[in-house]
C-alpha cells in the first residue's frame, strides 16, 4: 500500500491531479469510508484493504464537476461501471486520473458477524499486501479466526476477472477469487414453479424499508431526478403503500438498469435488510445473453448495448433462442 500512497503523493505534488478519491480509515477496523483527499498530509488517513468494497466510480459524477483532475482508485469490477458512466455521458474521462488498483476479493462484515462474531475491535489479515488467507478478528469476547474466502462478498465469488477495463496506470496485484458460476443462482430460480418464485421474492421484498440505498449506490441509477422522487407522479413514495408496490420499485428499477447493469453487486452489499437484489440483475443479464448474444456492460465505453441498438435480427416477443 505504501507504493500506492507514494505514487498518489507524487501525482498530487507534480500537479497532475488536484485531489484523490479513495478510502479513509475507519475506527473499527472494518468501516472505511469514501473520501476526497486534498493534500499529501491528508493521505496519512488513507487505507486500501479488504474492506474497501465501495465502488467509487459513481462518486466521479460529482468529481467530474470539480476543478482539475481527480485521481480515482478503481478495482477491476469498478472499471466496468466507470466505462458505462462514460458511455452515458455522466462522467468526464478527462477529469479522471484512474489508478487501477489490484484486488484480492472484498470482505463483507455481515458474513463475519453471521458466524456469531461480535464486539469486534480490530481485524487483521485484510491488508492488500497480505496473502489474504485468514482473518484474525479481535473482539471483546476473545480472538476469532475466519477464512478470508468465507468472509468475501458474494460478488467476489463470481468475479468477472482481474483485468481493469479502463485506467491510466495499474498498481498492486490481484488474486483470482472466482469459485462459482454467477448464473447458477438464476438457474435455481428458473427451476422453481411460478408460485415458489413469487413466494421467494415476496418474502425477500417484504423486508424492504424503501431507504433507496440500492438505488443511490447504483452506478447505473444516475438520473438527475428519479421518477420515485418526483412529486409529479403517484410513484413518488417514501413508503410502500401495499405489498404490490413493494415489489414494483425493485422491478421497475431492475428494468431500468437492464442492459446497463455491470453486476457490480453494490445493491446487495448496501441493503440494510440483506435482500439479494443482484438476483434481478443477473436474471436480466442472463436473458440478454441468451437473446442477443453474450454482452458485458461496461467492458468498453463505446459499444452500444443490445437494448439500445436495434437490428433486424433482434429477437421477436415470444421467440426463444
Amino acid at each position: 500500500m505504501q507504493r500506492l500512497i507514494d505514487r498518489m503523493k507524487e501525482l498530487l505534488a507534480d500537479g497532475t491531479v488536484q485531489r484523490v478519491l479513495g478510502w479513509k480509515q475507519g475506527d473499527l477496523g472494518y468501516n472505511p469510508e469514501p473520501h476526497y483527499f486534498n493534500s499529501a498530509e491528508e493521505l496519512d488517513e488513507f487505507i486500501y484493504d479488504g474492506f474497501c468494497g465501495a465502488n467509487l466510480s459513481k462518486y466521479m459524477i460529482k468529481g467530474s464537476e470539480l476543478e482539475g483532475k481527480t485521481l480515482v482508485l478503481l478495482k477491476p469490477c469498478d472499471t466496468y461501471s466507470f466505462n458505462q458512466l462514460i458511455k452515458e455521458h455522466r462522467v468526464d474521462r478527462e477529469k479522471a486520473y484512474i489508478i487501477g488498483v489490484g484486488c484480492k476479493g472484498k470482505l463483507d462484515i455481515e458474513k463475519i458477524k453471521a458466524q456469531g462474531i461480535k464486539g469486534i475491535t480490530a481485524v487483521k489479515g485484510a491488508e492488500i499486501s497480505g496473502d489474504c488467507d485468514e482473518l484474525t478478528v479481535e473482539t471483546v469476547y476473545g480472538e476469532k479466526k475466519v477464512a478470508y474466502k468465507d468472509a468475501m462478498l458474494e460478488r467476489c465469488h463470481v468475479c468477472k476477472g482481474k483485468e481493469h477495463k479502463i485506467y491510466d496506470e495499474l498498481l498492486l496485484d490481484s488474486v483470482d477469487t472466482c469459485d462459482g458460476d454467477r448464473f447458477e443462482c438464476v438457474d435455481e430460480l428458473d427451476s422453481l414453479t411460478p408460485e415458489e418464485k413469487f413466494n421467494f421474492f415476496r418474502k425477500e421484498l417484504s423486508k424492504c424499508i424503501r431507504c433507496n440505498a440500492c438505488r443511490n449506490v447504483c452506478p447505473a441509477c444516475s438520473c438527475r431526478k428519479c421518477v420515485f422522487d418526483s412529486n409529479k407522479f403517484d410513484s413518488a413514495q417514501k413508503a410502500n403503500v401495499d405489498p404490490f408496490e413493494e415489489s414494483m420499485f425493485h422491478i421497475i428499477r431492475a428494468f431500468h438498469v437492464a442492459g446497463r447493469c455491470t453486476d457490480c453487486g453494490e445493491c446487495s452489499r448496501v441493503c440494510p435488510q440483506g435482500i439479494p437484489l443482484h438476483l434481478f440483475n443477473r436474471k436480466f443479464i442472463k436473458d440478454i445473453n441468451e437473446f442477443y448474444g453474450e454482452f458485458i456492460a461496461g467492458e468498453d465505453a463505446e459499444t452500444k448495448g443490445p437494448l439500445t441498438d436495434f437490428t433486424l435480427d433482434d429477437i421477436e416477443p415470444g421467440e426463444r433462442r
Binding site: I209, V241, G274
Partner: protein, 342 residues
C-alpha cells in the same frame, strides 16, 4: 423477582397471545425485525439489534389517517380507528426503550398525536437486558444502562432461565396473567448478570465517547462549522440511517388516490431525501450538506434545546452498522471533538 424456564418461552407467549397481540423480534428471510407473534414465528431474542427499531410498533412506517370517498354527490370522510386493544411489545432493548421516551416528547406533547397516544396507552413493554453488547453500541454515552433496561417488565437472560423484574403497574397486570409459567426467584443471578454486562460495556470502543461539547451547544457554533463540508461527502443521500433509527420521527403526509376517493396516509420521511420539508414556496434545504447537517443538528442540538437537554440519539448504533458509506453520528461527534482540540 420472578423467572421462567427458557423452554417455557413459547408457553408464556401462547398465554399472552390468547388475548393480546405480541410484537417481538422474529427472524424472516435471514433478518430479525419486530413482527406479530403467531405459532409459526421464528422468535429470535438472541440477535442484539433488530434491523428496524421498536419504534414502528407505536409509529408505523406508513399508516392511513383517514379515507375520503365520494358517496353519490357527497364526500364522506372516514377516520381511521384508533388502537383500542391491549398489546405487548416483547424483548425490547434499553436503547429502544429510551427511543420510545424520545418519541413521547414529540407525540405526547401538545398537540397530542391521537394515533400514537392510543398505541402507547394500550402497549405494555417487556424489555430485555443486552446479553452481549457490540462494538457499534454507545448507549452509555447517553446515560442508558443496557444491563438494567426501563420498561414495564425487565427480562434478564440467565442460564436456563429468563428472570422477570416487574417495574410498573402495567407490568404487574401482565405478570398476573402469566402467573402459571412464572415462579419466584432470587435476585443474585440478575445482579451477577448485570455485572457481567457492565464489564463488557467498559471494553467497547464507543461507550465512553464524550458528548460534552454538545451539552448546551448553541446552534451557531455547530451549524457554521467547516467540518460538515468534509463529513457529508461520502453520504449517498439514502434514508437508511433515518429508517433504522429509533428516534427519527419526521413524517410526510400524502394522498393515495383510490378508485373513488383519496386515502390520506402518513409515512416516515427522511431529512436525507431531496424533497424533505418541501413546501409551496420551495425547499429550504437545497444541498445534501444541508440535509446531512440537519440530521445531526436535530439530534444533538435542536432536540435537546427544546427537551431539557435530552439528546434524540440513544446510541443503539444501527446507523453505524447500516450506513452504506460508513458515515454516521460517531464520526460526526469525533470530527467535532478533533476540531475542538485543534
Amino acid at each position: 423477582m420472578k423467572k421462567f424456564l427458557k423452554s417455557d418461552l413459547n408457553a408464556l407467549l401462547d398465554i399472552i397471545s390468547e388475548k393480546e397481540r405480541i410484537y417481538l423480534p422474529v427472524s424472516e428471510a435471514g433478518q430479525t425485525n419486530y413482527a406479530i407473534y403467531n405459532e409459526n414465528s421464528k422468535v429470535d431474542l438472541d440477535t442484539l439489534k433488530t434491523v428496524k427499531s421498536a419504534k414502528e410498533v407505536f409509529f408505523p412506517q406508513s399508516e392511513t389517517l383517514y379515507t375520503a370517498f365520494m358517496d353519490g354527490k357527497k364526500i364522506r370522510i372516514a377516520q381511521e380507528e384508533l388502537e383500542k386493544e391491549e398489546f405487548v411489545l416483547f424483548g425490547v432493548k434499553a436503547c429502544d426503550v429510551r427511543g420510545i421516551e424520545v418519541l413521547d416528547k414529540v407525540f405526547l406533547s401538545e398537540p397530542v398525536d391521537s394515533f400514537y397516544k392510543a398505541r402507547r396507552d394500550h402497549g405494555v413493554i417487556v424489555a430485555l437486558a443486552c446479553g452481549e453488547p457490540e462494538e457499534s453500541c454507545f448507549c452509555k454515552a447517553f446515560g442508558i444502562d443496557c444491563a438494567e433496561p426501563e420498561g414495564d417488565v425487565a427480562l434478564y437472560d440467565c442460564g436456563d432461565y429468563y428472570f422477570w423484574d416487574v417495574k410498573t403497574e402495567k407490568g404487574t397486570a401482565l405478570t398476573e396473567k402469566c402467573a402459571s409459567v412464572l415462579s419466584d426467584a432470587e435476585e443474585a443471578p440478575v445482579k451477577e448478570k448485570q455485572e457481567e454486562i457492565r464489564k463488557i460495556v467498559s471494553l467497547l470502543p464507543y461507550m465512553n465517547i464524550s458528548l460534552d461539547s454538545w451539552k448546551g451547544a448553541t446552534t451557531d457554533e455547530k451549524f457554521n462549522s467547516d467540518v460538515w463540508e468534509e463529513l457529508y461527502k461520502p453520504c449517498l443521500a439514502c434514508g437508511t440511517c433515518t429508517f433504522v433509527c429509533p428516534t427519527c420521527q419526521c413524517y410526510d403526509i400524502k394522498d393515495y388516490k383510490t378508485k373513488n376517493g383519496v386515502q390520506r396516509y402518513r409515512c416516515w420521511d427522511s431529512c436525507m431525501y431531496s424533497d424533505f420539508t418541501m413546501m409551496a414556496h420551495g425547499n429550504n434545504r437545497t444541498s445534501q450538506l444541508q440535509r446531512f447537517r440537519q440530521r445531526f443538528m436535530h439530534k444533538l442540538v435542536y432536540f435537546p434545546a427544546n427537551n431539557d437537554g435530552m439528546f434524540s440519539c440513544v446510541g443503539c448504533g444501527r446507523c453505524v452498522d447500516k450506513c452504506p458509506a460508513a458515515a454516521n453520528i460517531i464520526k460526526v461527534i469525533k470530527a467535532f471533538e478533533k476540531e475542538g482540540n485543534r
